[in-house]
Amino acid sequence: MHINSPGVLRNLALALVAVIGLAACGPGAGTSSGGGKTLHVLATWGGDEQKAFLAMVKPWEDRTGNHIAYEGTRDLNAVLTTRVSGGNPPDLAGLPGPGQMAEFAKAGKLIPLDSVVDMSQMNSQYAKSWIDLGSVNGKLYGIFIKAALKGLIWYDPKVVQAASVNISSSSPPKTWDDLTAIASQLKSAGKTPWCVGLESGAASGWPGTDWIEDLVLRSMGPDQYANWYQGKVKWTDPGIKAAWQKFGTVVSQSYGGKNFVLSTNFGKAGDPLFTSPPGCYLHHQASFITTFFQQDNPSVQPVTDFNFFGFPDINSQYTGSEEVAGDLFGMFKDSPEARDLIKYLTTPEAQQIWVSKGGALSPNKQVPLSKYPDQLSRQAGQIITSAKVTAFDASDNMPDAMNTAFWHGILDFVGDQSKLDSILANLDKVQADAYK
């Protein structure tokens, strides 16, 4: 083909005109309606949680005429890091944990919220520990949308009674020894005491980290607990190692054996509590698990079919500390609308919307307990706003690399408990690198 031939050139020129014409029409066709601004929000919530969040922001959307474009991802770390370093962050985003929040804040990616929210109001509505958890170097960077009470042990009261095991809401096992005695009693009666499930996609292993955290908190106390997640206590420390060994005993007394523990999703792990005959009698999980119980077993009711008791004491010196977790939320792009939304999300009016949908607790003291959908969540909601010491989920406080290694360590340990020493030594190696 010769380009010099007039035909080809004319066709090209015609194509050019057509293309430019299209371009001129293009943007006009894409104009969206409505005068409000669209805020892009990125977080981990999907399914029911996504619906609850959208219900939470609906009154704000109606009031302001702005629109929330919500995007959910199960791999928040990766998506958020990529978008932030690519210079295209969402306006607001859920943050994977305080550790990650601090990394973003120190890199100057997060906008401080001290001037966005009314700090005196925050101080009166939230316990100091919640504000401290959202702060880096004395500045507030993250607010809590909802919270969960960790370290709860769930059981089916009817089944437990039938097995003549002494557990009830009035007389829960007080100490770890009481609890292990109950487990051995079940075991010697030919029953399986525990249910554990660790699968959770890229975050598989985290339910095990919660176990270790509860054991460390009750045996070493809140101060050593904090030192541990700050990288100042080694993983090979005898106290930490003892916690792993206790967890190991639980796993070896759990339903389905290690392969089932590893391959079962955390949301389905508690289901054998409700089978007949029961697959297991005890299940350790945070307050949000009730949604999962009822999703898989629609007939079960709180109090009559499932109930919880708090994690028992190991060292009586540290009675009264509760482990909590929560969904942090931060602002990456400053705008009047984003500021307004943040302010709204901290209010009791906003927080009680999610609470009433179930599966969530509010760290805001002014959310009335009557807004909780059932007695169990009310009880948990009360514990969370009145706890003496709240220790935040340690793994969420660790740097990302440490947290991921912790998850992997749990899986390796469950796969082969005899490898504990080499797993802990490897975690020490990661620790030496991750806190730099």
Binding site: I3, N4, L9, L12, A13, A15, L16, V19, I20, L22, A23, G26, P27, G30, T31, S32, K37, T38, H40, A69, D75, N77, A78, T81, T82, E103, G201, A202, S204, G205, Y255, G256, G257, N259, F260, L262, S263, G279, D400, A401, T404, H408, L411, G415, A434, K436
Partner: protein
């Protein structure tokens, strides 16, 4: 916000081709000012210039930047020489990933090629060929993520005695075998992951092999049969040698794919239980450990592993050009 995005999208779809056409028209006006003899020599260079620029910006520059990053520290500040490579290659997890990539390279490539070839040859001999081929090709239309979810159900595990919800374990149950945790058991998990990829890609190998098979003249096979060759001899001595160039092309494609395997492992096991591969490990170094230096070192190692395949491909291409 959305208006901005839509404008950008329309602009990209419409204005880029417009600009390229305009570029060709305008530069050609310039070229015509040159003496007629030199015109044909200049024109091709002008035509490939935009692509060269794009390749430089989007491929060559990132490659060089990645190589450079792999010699810097985690913060990207100080030159540390080969330290990142030392760390990476001294890490037990990375060595497992390299081993698994070799499993993928051998297992995946061989199985897809063999299954593709067998199915192509067999399908060639039945009247309902196109129906069979469509059916086997179908998984190609499914993304790896979706395929992983589907196979997740196939591999599901329940403890012995409980009703098995996974297809494979239900089958095992039928024959009174004890269930296997396919994705967790170290003896089966890599094979299970590779199987998913084989299931998706066999159709591709089959279709291409089948097309090449149709290109073999029937007289050639007839002549061999008349001379007394058995079907097996015909297959081994005539069909295979004539298909060799096609099989090589498919093979090299598969090898490159095996080296960059990611999705299936990410979705099904997240690289746990000794199933990690290099590409996923690189992703984890970047997104979990925030260590771009080590991620870059892994990327460079992967690149080095792919180079021989590329060289082989180019050589073969040249050889074919030469004999044509």
């Amino acid at each position: 916000m959305d208006i901005v995005r839509i404008t950008f999208l329309v602009g990209a779809v419409v204005l880029v081709p417009a600009a390229l056409i305009a570029y060709v028209l305008v530069t050609d006006l310039g070229v015509r000012l040159l003496p007629p003899r030199t015109q044909p020599r200049i024109r091709p260079w002008l035509w490939i210039l935009p692509s060269m620029l794009a390749v430089t910006v989007f491929l060559i520059y990132p490659t060089i930047a990645t190589i450079w990053l792999s010699f810097l520290d985690k913060a990207g500040q100080t030159f540390v020489g080969l330290a990142n490579y030392g760390e990476v290659l001294g890490d037990g997890g990375v060595l497992v990933s390299i081993r698994n990539n070799i499993f993928w390279l051998v297992g995946y490539t061989a199985l897809v090629l063999v299954f593709g070839l067998i199915l192509a040859v067999l399908a060639d001999r039945v009247p309902y060929e196109s129906a069979v081929k469509s059916l086997i090709f179908m998984p190609m239309a499914i993304s790896f993520v979706a395929a992983s979810v589907i196979w997740g159900f196939m591999f599901a595990y329940q403890p012995p005695g409980a009703p098995q919800t996974g297809t494979l374990n239900a089958l095992l149950n039928l024959f009174h075998g004890s269930p296997i945790a396919w994705l967790i058991d170290h003896r089966t998990n890599n094979a299970a992951l590779i199987l998913v990829a084989v299931w998706v890609w066999t159709g591709f190998a089959m279709v291409i092999t089948s097309a090449a098979l149709k290109g073999i003249p029937e007289e050639l096979l007839e002549a061999a049969r008349v001379d007394g060759a058995t079907e097996l001899t015909v297959f081994r001595r005539i069909i295979i040698p004539l298909l060799a160039p096609t099989l090589t092309v498919i093979g090299t494609t598969l090898v490159i794919f095996a080296l960059k395997a990611f999705d299936i492992v990410y979705v099904m096991t997240s690289g746990n239980y000794n199933t990690n591969v290099m590409a996923l490990r690189m992703y984890q170094e970047m997104n979990n450990n925030h260590n771009n230096a080590r991620a870059s070192a892994l990327a460079v190692l992967l690149l080095l592993a792919i180079v021989p395949v590329l060289v082989f491909n180019v050589r073969r291409l040249r050889f074919q050009e030469a004999i044509r």
